[in-house]
């Protein structure tokens, strides 16, 4: 291993050593604050390292990893969001009585898994990353053991994720049988030599799509999403919705771009999946009364929107995916951050009732949540709008008329439930709520407040002056 190789894997080392350090630290003395600081500092150091020290040139560590602009960008993004989730987690878990310290180990490991996903170029590293991510997530989801919902969600995720891994593995095996290699480059070469795809290979890729589809929560593999989102602790939900799904999206883009898998039948599959996800997600979200479930179903449709940019392909498509991911990550993290911030130790703030008249009680919290919902709905001045605009531009430039029209139609449907939530927050309350026993009594923590403000400002900055983020993305993608 050369020195350059070593520099590239340092971000992975930092995370692994941080988790070991936390383990030792817990063995000495349980202290939430210390563990929290270790986690924050190591994530910050990692982020700093990735952005500044990692060489800007593409580098390979054969045969597993590739460190290119796209990968580095996604690593940085995942680290930044993991950092935000950590910040939000402190306040959330501090109020709860369960042992909190081990949570951070799992968080760091899950982040590591997601990072491995976005830089891998070999089936083995893909599977390793995926398992590190999933196994950590099982326990994170069920972390609040005393809650029935949390346990249920954990078990559900365990079973379905195991299933999807099995599909993925079987798919990889089939691809390997035909191609005789597990590296993306070798598969690409095979495909370019064989214009007609053998049935076995197609089946293999199809099964891999099933596995990936489960992780992304796209229709028809979306059933777990709502239950898991609802049952998991709010910061963990934010983590699943962003880091876990985002890593998978990046992998998807890398795999299909590199193996040039824009094959007719595969494109058809993804088109159907995208349209079905948009419609199912939006229609189911319309019928929910639980905020976490609304956000869960809306995330299904947002992955559908992302697939439009993915299907559009080309450099504009990849830029659109990257920009949308950033916007979507910030929005989702903050939205669940709000849910976490309003929750108290008995239950999460997930009923629509908890938000009634929020604007008049906690104007800043409500303003931030409104901004996030408007961003999800794709209204100007927010990053969500520029993201949607980017995707539409990518779709129109490659003449995917069906997809863009579906996207527009779904944006209109989606508006309804975002607006409904906003309307609830702005509702006038004639008298104080009669039933005070159901009201939540959350504590306010400055860390959460600062994090939320920072996220909101970033979102507005990206919405008002997207030039900065676009050129940032372009400098990374250029070396892709």
């Amino acid at each position: 291993m050369t020195r350059a190789d070593f520099l590239h894997v340092v971000p992975l080392f930092i995370l692994t050593s941080a988790s070991i350090l936390i383990l030792f630290s817990i063995a000495v003395k349980r202290n939430h604050k210390v563990i929290y600081v270790i986690t924050t500092v190591s994530l910050l150091a990692d982020l700093f390292f990735v952005l500044n020290v990692s060489a800007k040139t593409t580098n390979w560590i054969e045969p597993l990893f590739v460190f290119d602009g796209f990968g580095t960008f996604n690593v940085a993004l995942i680290l930044a969001i993991a950092l935000a989730v950590t910040m939000l987690s402190y306040a959330y878990f501090e109020q709860r009585e369960e042992r909190k310290e081990e949570y951070y180990i799992l968080l760091i490991l899950a982040t590591l898994g997601s990072i491995v996903l976005v830089i891998s170029k070999h089936f083995v590293s893909v599977f390793l990353g995926l398992e590190i991510l999933s196994v950590s997530l099982y326990s994170m989801i069920a972390y609040l053991r005393k809650r029935e919902r949390s346990d249920e969600a954990g078990i559900k995720y365990l079973i379905l994720a195991a299933f999807s891994s099995a599909f993925l593995l079987f798919g990889m095996a089939l691809v390997y049988t035909v191609v005789g290699a597990m590296e993306f480059g070798a598969i690409a070469q095979y495909l370019s030599n064989h214009p007609v795809m053998p049935l076995m290979l197609l089946m293999g890729i199809g099964m891999m799509i099933v596995g990936i589809g489960f992780k992304l929560g796209v229709v028809p593999f979306h059933m777990w999403t709502a239950d898991v989102y609802e049952g998991a602790p709010a910061p963990v939900t934010a983590f699943i919705a962003t880091v876990s799904k985002g890593g998978m999206v990046a992998l998807l883009v890398r795999f299909f771009t590199q193996v040039n898998g824009h094959h007719e039948s595969i494109l058809t599959i993804f088109t159907v999946v995208a349209i079905a996800s948009m419609f199912t997600g939006n229609f189911l979200a319309l019928q929910q009364t639980n905020v976490k479930r609304i956000l869960a179903y809306s995330s299904i449709s947002h992955i559908g929107y992302l697939l439009v940019a993915f299907l559009a392909g080309g450099s504009l498509g990849i830029e659109a995916v990257s920009f949308y991911l950033v916007a979507y990550f910030i929005t989702t993290t903050s939205a669940f951050g709000i849910v976490a911030g309003l929750s108290d130790k008995d239950r999460d703030a997930e009923r629509i009732e908890d938000y009634r008249g929020l604007f008049w009680k906690r104007p800043w919290t409500a303003a931030i949540f409104t901004t996030m919902l408007l961003s999800l709905a794709g209204i100007p001045l927010t990053a969500g709008f520029i993201g949607k605009f980017y995707i539409l531009a990518a779709g129109v430039s490659t003449h995917h008329w069906l997809l863009v029209v579906m996207l527009v139609l779904n944006s209109a449907i989606g508006l309804y439930y975002y607006i409904k939530l906003i309307a609830v927050m702005f509702e006038r309350q004639a008298e104080p709520a009669s039933d005070t026993s159901t009201e939540l009594h959350p504590y306010f923590y400055a860390v959460s407040g600062i994090t939320m403000t920072a996220l909101t400002l970033t979102l507005l900055w990206m919405g008002i002056y997207p030039h900065g983020m676009i050129s940032f993305i372009r400098t990374f993608i250029a070396s892709y």
């Binding site: 129109v396 430039s397 029209v405 139609l409 508006l415 030039h467």
Partner: protein
């Protein structure tokens, strides 16, 4: 630069009004009022300045322009321009804006700061639409005016406000998204034809497209503007939104928001897609006539005063469609006049409905009657606007409808005749307002305390009366202002030559 100031003043005033609420309860009102007056003065000064040159300056007739690069990756610039048409609309906006602040003085009692924030931001969005020269920016301002309006209806509206607010939002937003698709399509069509990827209106003018593409793209724009205008099958949000909004909201909706649809047709649809517009013109005119007649019939059937006025808007706005697609100067000048006079006369009718419901807490005209005795001044003023609404010569609306009909006669006789029948309908429903509310006997079981107009209310109504009479007797002032702009729309000669160097406009990135 003054153009940027117009928008910045409104946005800053809005933020200031919101924040000042904690200092004093009435401070937001004063801030909002001062903002509106400053804006009005600025626009009147501009008008005075360019009156001497008959509103034609420079080669392509823009009085003022401003452009700065915004998102160079996409060829998006923050680019504004003013001509006679936009100047008229801006003056109307600030005038009605000031009236909206005054009418809310006693009506809006809670969350005064946030109310005025929304009011000023709606106006900022509207002024932006009237000024924008960049299609991306057009969409941007189009959305900026929707959200505050949604809050105005949804928070301070009447009993059924939630439903009305949803409906308004979803209609306008969904149609706006179709416009966004069309804007993108135009961007890529233009880009792939010329290699220049830009959203600049002046560069996109005269884009070569095959007729099929052109028709689809035009329809995308048209849907957004038709919902706002509203054109009949797409009008159902309007009666709900108008009747549920607070008085100031109804005033802004009827007086200004609908005008953005009309403005969009004049400024964007016709110049950008001349061939497709000509091709579809008979259909568009027919829709206009349908709106005129249908609106008139439904207006006659209403018992809710605000709903009644809302349907008269549907009817009056039909003339915009009829005139705009006649493609001659007379008709287009009529449309411009209609935009202004309708803004004032219908706005005034909403104010009257607001003043009445302030006193009797109902909008049901079955429960009104004989109010002339106790409120002769309000009665007299209402008579003026009712007459304006039915098109009495000497008042502004007559000029507008007359010009539109003369112009439309040259384009399509049958439709013009049908449209003219609508004026008869207007007489019937307008007189019904007078008859039901101010004449006859007061319903016996109702005993209302009916003070006549207060000083503040007089301060609102009298300028509007003066304005509608001035526009009726001396329409030439307005017609002169918009003439150069209207001629330019018809000739479609404002396109910037593609080969000419364009200093202020950045070339967009190229993606294929």
């Amino acid at each position: 630069m003054v153009l940027v100031w117009l928008i910045v003043v409104l946005m800053a005033g809005g933020l200031l009004a919101w924040m000042s609420n904690t200092l004093h309860r009435d401070l937001p009102r004063w801030i909002a009022l001062v903002t509106m007056i400053v804006g009005l003065l600025l626009t009147v000064m501009l008008w005075w300045q360019y009156r001497a040159s008959a509103f034609t300056v420079g080669a392509d007739g823009w009085l003022e322009t401003y452009s700065v690069s915004w998102i160079p990756e996409f060829g998006i610039s923050f680019s504004l321009a003013l001509d006679g048409l936009s100047l008229l609309m801006l003056m109307l906006s600030f005038f009605l804006g000031a009236m909206a602040v005054l009418i809310s003085w006693n009506e809006i009692k809670d969350r005064v700061g946030f109310f005025h924030f929304n009011l000023l931001w709606v106006l900022a969005g509207i002024c932006g639409v009237f000024l924008t020269m960049d299609l991306f920016l057009l969409y941007f301002f189009w959305e900026v005016m929707i959200i505050p309006m949604y809050f105005l209806i949804g928070i301070w509206g009447h009993e059924n406000r939630r439903y009305a607010a949803y409906k308004f939002f979803i209609y306008t937003q969904a149609s706006g998204l179709l416009m966004l698709l069309s804007i993108l399509a135009l961007y890529f069509v233009h880009g792939s034809a010329t290699g220049q990827y830009t959203y600049d209106y002046r560069l996109l003018l005269g884009t070569n497209m095959d007729p099929d593409t052109s028709r689809w793209i035009m329809l995308g724009f048209m849907v957004a503007f038709a919902v706002k205008l509203p054109v009949v099958p797409l009008h159902t949000w309007l009666p709900d939104a108008h009747s549920q909004a607070p008085t100031a909201g109804s005033l802004i909706l009827a007086g200004l928001l609908l005008k953005t649809g009309a403005y969009g047709i004049l400024r964007f649809v016709i110049p950008l897609f001349p061939a497709a517009s000509h091709e579809l013109a008979p259909w568009m005119m027919a829709l206009g006539v349908l709106g005129i007649l249908y609106g008139a019939i439904l207006a006659f059937a209403q018992t809710d005063l605000k709903r009644l006025v809302a349907y008269t808007s549907v009817s009056h706005m039909g003339f915009v469609m009829l005139g705009a697609f006649s493609f001659n100067e007379l008709a287009l000048q009529g449309v411009v006049m209609q935009m202004i006079t309708h803004g004032i006369s219908t706005g005034a009718l909403f104010l009257i409905a607001g003043i009445l419901s302030d006193r009797i807490h109902t909008r049901d005209i079955e429960r009104m009657g004989g109010f002339w005795n106790s409120m002769p001044r309000l009665g007299g003023i209402s008579l003026v606007f009712v007459m304006a609404s039915l098109g009495l010569p000497g008042l502004g609306n007559f000029v507008a409808e007359f010009l539109t009909l003369i112009g439309a006669w040259q384009a399509h006789r049958l439709l013009t005749v049908l449209g003219a029948i609508g004026v008869v309908g207007a007489t019937i429903y307008s007189l019904r307002i007078m008859q039901r509310v101010f004449y006859g006997a007061q319903p016996l079981h109702q005993s209302y305390q009916l003070p006549d107009l207060s000083l503040r209310e007089k301060l609102i109504m009298i300028p509007m009366v003066v304005l509608i009479i001035v526009l009726g007797i001396m329409p030439q002032y307005a017609l002169d202002t918009s003439r150069a702009a209207v001629v330019a729309i018809l000739k479609g000669d404002r396109a910037i030559d593609h080969d000419a160097p364009t200093a202020t406009i950045k070339q967009g990135g190229t993606h294929d």
